[in-house]
Amino acid sequence: MADTVQFDLVSPERLLSSVEAKEVQIPGAEGDMTALPDHAPLITTLRPGILKVTSDKGVDEYVVTGGFAEISPNGISVLAEQALPKGDMTQERMTEMVDAAKATLAKAQETFVNEPGPVDDAAKLLSDMVAMGGEIGLTAN
């Protein structure tokens, strides 16, 4: 059994990381999961959160705001909507992102008055975003 797996993190704008990873912790929409080499094939959506990659070079952490991940025995690809190294995450960016999430929620509440689905989704996005901020020590306001 191989002890590493090819891991790629891409956002629409660029390829952020491509390493041989020992394990990858992914903020899945239905809960965090850690993928080790030879994981069963799985496709999952992401919620805003921290992505943790452990490789020979140490642990890299990235902030992702959503997207999805494809896990197969021979590679893990994370296709994030927006992603940046955790170190680059500033209070300003956080506020910006939370504001965007709030705007989405407000718009959803306006458009889908009688359909709870999209509104709940937007609300969940916002709360996930705030929770993620808490995790890395940034406030949401």
């Binding site: 891409v10 704008e13 239905e30 094939p41 799985l42 999952t44 959506t45 999805f68 296709l79």
Partner: protein
């Protein structure tokens, strides 16, 4: 026969034109590098995205419950053409080629009795097809203010298109842009984005490991991914366009600079000849004057 003075002014004016085209060429070359990098950076995402989409689409297949974005509305009466061009001209056949392709497609659809609606992105394409197809315009996206195309731009265009789709304004959407091959070749391309067109060769390539688990489930993931597929296709198109535009402008301006150079050479020869003729004339007059004495 132009006078010596006329020729001189002419040469000066061509020289200053050459300076301008040379400068534009160099600016385009500098911008091209950046645009090309951006286009190349986005390719891994698009490739992987299509890979996953292909798998998902293969699993869902013709399932009745598949979302409309994948399956289509069941009709192909109304077509939406999204024509993406540049905001500026002076870039050779770049805008014209995209417009030509879009126009051909629109006319074909109209001839088949379909309804055509057009959204233009970029001013030049709008101007180019306005005369023939102006009645079909439903929206225009102004990109003049956008310096560097970001994913957010593509998302906002996509959001507009999806709103129209949800409102039932059209059945099929196609985007037009120019694919960047290299500096001298840009290929005008048409790509269908709604219903999602599974890229050839994807999905069925590795059947062995197509037993994917899905979290939440296929339908929920598809519902999330399909709108993003539209944005991703638009984004890729915009970036390809950006690189193509600069490439086309660079080679167009290179040509213009070379033409100006040739013109200057020709004019200079003409100028020298006429100067020579004037001198010869004067000499003949002096000599014949002296002989007459």
């Amino acid at each position: 026969m132009p006078s010596l003075k006329d020729l001189k002014t002419r040469i000066e004016s061509v020289k200053s034109t050459r300076k301008i085209t040379k400068a534009m060429q160099m600016v385009a070359a500098a911008k091209l590098r950046r645009a090309q990098e951006a286009a190349e950076m986005s390719r891994p995402y698009t490739e992987r995205f299509n890979h996953v989409m292909g798998k998902l689409a293969a699993t869902m297949g013709d399932n009745e419950s598949a979302p409309k974005l994948l399956r289509g509305t069941g009709s192909d009466q109304t077509h939406l053409l999204v024509v993406m061009t540049a905001e500026r001209g002076l870039c050779g056949g770049f805008n014209g080629n995209i417009a030509k392709l879009a126009r051909a497609e629109a006319q074909k659809l109209i001839a088949e009795g379909k309804t055509v609606k057009i959204i233009t992105v970029g001013k030049k394409g709008r101007d180019a097809i306005k005369r023939d197809l102006g009645d079909h315009f439903i929206h225009h996206v102004d990109m003049t203010e956008v310096k560097n195309v970001g994913y957010a731009d593509a998302q906002s265009i996509a959001a507009g298109i999806l709103d129209r789709f949800d409102a039932g304004e059209f059945d099929v959407a196609k985007i037009f842009f120019s694919e960047f091959q290299n500096v001298v070749t840009q290929i005008p391309t048409m790509q269908q984005v709604i219903p999602f067109d599974v890229p050839a060769g994807e999905g069925d390539a590795d059947d062995a490991d197509s037993f994917y688990d899905y979290e939440p489930d296929e339908a929920a993931i598809l519902a999330q991914l399909l709108p993003r597929a539209v944005a991703t296709a638009l984004f890729a198109g915009l970036l390809e366009n950006g690189a193509s535009e600069q490439g086309a402008r660079m080679s167009a301006m290179d040509n213009a600079t070379r033409n100006a150079g040739e013109m200057i050479d020709k004019l200079t020869i003409q100028f020298n000849r006429s100067r020579q003729a004037v001198i010869t004339n004067e000499l003949i007059e002096i000599i014949s004057g002296a002989e007459a004495l």
